[in-house]
Amino acid sequence: MSVREVTASLFGEYTESPVDRREALLGIVLILPAVVLIGGVILYPIAYNVYLSFTTVPLNPDRAPEWVGLANYVELLASRRFWSAFTTTVTFTVGTTVLSTVVGLGVALLFDREFRGRRFARGLVLLPHVTPIIAVAFVWQFMLSPLWGTIPNVLADWGLYSTRVGLLERGSTALPVVIVFAAWRNFPFAFLLFVARLQAIPESMYEAARIDGAGAIAQFKDITLPELKGTIAIVVLLRFIWEFNTFAEVWLLTRQILTLPIFAYQTAFANFEQGLGAAISLLLFLVQALFVVGFVLLFGEDKV
């Protein structure tokens, strides 16, 4: 089939004149580079990853991957290590998403009024998000160091910290610390979206509410929160997807925590079990896809 026939069959009902047909053809030619590029760098790796997840990849590069069917998945779903990593990932994701959204909203509300130097302060708030992660991760490690760190010092003064083991070295404290760190790094994103939305709420609604006798809490509950509902949904959705995939924030701060992305990385590139690694990342992908579908069904497409 020639390209013309393909387009004619694809756009048959719309192409009534040669001009329309040429227009459609031009459209296809114009989007082709983008489609090829996306296909090459996104679709192909995903497809290859799906294939790999059903194989065992030998260390010898000359030998082809060996088809093992569902063996990788069976192994994973039976492994305690996988389920522990899964639980940790969910805890980390929920904790970070909630914390960064709440803090972002709180700071955005503080910025929703005129004060001197507001623009400058707004720039400062963005710093955690724009500073290279390697730099802030080392600063946090430094601050958390049990020997000279500020945070253990302060906690010790308050009587909340007495062991010699660092906060990042113990599994029980490492996870909360990493959640706080990731929330600190990412709250400016939520902040930006909230600030923009807050400024779009007409002032007259608040003035009408003042005349109607609604107090600050009622105004927040009845005006601000309903107006922000869509934005909150978007922030939660995006943050959830990103936090679920988070690697750097966790890996750079501590090696005590095993989340699914780290598990996949270690399996594929430390143990060189690339088939198993591919299976882990595919499961990650599935969980996220399920979450997004559920989220959109729950909140409605128009809101998200």
């Binding site: 007409p202 007259s204 003035e207 009408a208 005349i211 109607d212 006798g213 009845d222 309903p226």
Partner: protein
């Protein structure tokens, strides 16, 4: 009977750039009437309204409603309702919730009583069918009605409207104007209405307060303000097309003063008025004004000639724009008189419609004699 009193109310904004006087000692008493605050944008009319509402603090002066000093009270304690230019409706609530919101927060009515009040008011405004709709789904006119209903349902003592018709299209605006007038007549509620539209002011107001630069320039019934403007600003602001104003010199000729208008390349004898009619002296520099509808182009006893630049057909009359020397004049004439562009027309100025303003201060020295108070018009 509700009396709203503004006593030397002043609003000053202080910031790093300096002091800005937005409202300068405005004093006015409004009682069971519709007062229109009229003026160009930035004249302080909205700030005045917002001070009455309690949305802005008062720098100096007092505001009282029914003898109760409300200057420092919270907006909700002043027993007033306000309609905003963009309606200020709660966009995430239904019409019913919008209307009940004020009752819920500032009265102790039960839910059933609140619903009943909302229902009654909705019927009065013909919006009962919309009660369960979302506010965002309504048309501009419907939103306007809901905003009015929401304000009225609280049975306020004072009703404030901030350019409520500005965002409606022309046809809807004139419909709502009529409706608002009827509403005000029926309820007889003390109302302050802010607008920059002089037509709204003229048609709706019991009294008009013309403001400029934060100062109340003139207060009175629309006819009085139109006929007897106290200064050049008020004269210019009211009336469409605006009053013709020209610099002129007073020239005494026997029993008359001849007002010689400076038209750039010389002077013309613009009009003659009886001498003992007003207080100027020979050689004084003044501004002479005459409303476009008082200029006549079809009179044999012409005062001067003018060249027509544009003639606008308006249906029930024509606007004729003319130039005399370097000055522009506008006349509103009957549709039968329709000179073409480039024509030369003879213009006559009836002496009893001449306004004279002080050349320096712009204050009125003489207003059109037909409407002047009795003692002055005896001459």
């Amino acid at each position: 009977m509700v009396e709203l009193v503004l006593d030397a109310v002043t609003k000053r904004y202080d910031d790093a750039q300096g002091t800005e006087l937005a409202v300068d000692e405005v004093s006015v008493t409004v009682e069971d009437e519709l007062l229109v605050l009229l003026g160009p944008s930035g004249c302080g009319k909205t700030t005045t309204l917002r001070m009455i509402a309690g949305l802005e603090t008062v720098t100096e002066g007092r505001i009282s409603i029914e003898g109760r000093d409300v200057t420092d009270l919270h907006p909700s304690e002043r027993s007033l309702a306000m309609v905003f230019q963009d309606y200020g409706l709660y966009t995430t609530m239904s019409v019913r919730k919008n209307m009940a919101y004020g009752l819920k927060h500032s009265t102790d009515l039960s839910k059933a009583e609140r619903d009943e009040r909302v229902q009654e008011m909705a019927e009065m405004f013909g919006i009962e069918a919309l009660l369960d709709r979302d506010v965002t789904d309504l048309s501009g006119g419907q939103k306007q009605r809901v905003a009015l209903g929401r304000a009225m349902v609280r049975e306020p003592d004072v009703f404030l409207l901030d350019e409520p018709l500005a965002s409606l299209d022309a046809k809807l605006r004139s419909e709502m104007r009529t409706e608002l007038q009827q509403l005000q007549n029926d309820l007889d509620i003390t109302t302050v209405y802010v607008t920059h539209d002089q037509k709204e002011a003229m048609t709706m107001a019991d009294r008009v307060a013309v403001m400029n630069d934060g100062v109340l320039r003139q207060l009175g019934p629309p006819e009085a303000v139109y006929e007897n403007p106290v200064d050049r600003f008020v004269a210019d602001f009211l009336g469409n097309p605006a009053m013709n104003q020209l610099p002129a010199t007073v020239d005494r000729r026997g029993d008359e003063y001849v007002l010689r208008a400076d038209v750039g390349d010389g002077r013309i004898a613009f009009a003659s008025v009886p001498r003992d009619d007003f207080d100027v002296r020979d050689g004084d520099h003044v501004t002479v004004g005459v409303r476009p509808e008082h200029l006549r182009l079809d009179d044999a006893s012409a005062d001067f000639e003018a060249a027509v630049t544009v003639s606008e057909y308006q249906g029930n009359d024509n606007f004729v724009h003319m130039s005399v020397g370097e000055r522009d004049l506008t006349a509103v004439v009957p549709p039968s008189v329709r000179p073409a562009a480039g024509d030369t027309v003879a213009v006559s100025v009836p002496p009893n419609h001449i306004h004279v303003f002080d050349g320096e201060t712009g204050a009125s020295v003489r207003t059109s004699s037909e409407s002047r108070p009795a003692p002055e018009s005896e001459t």
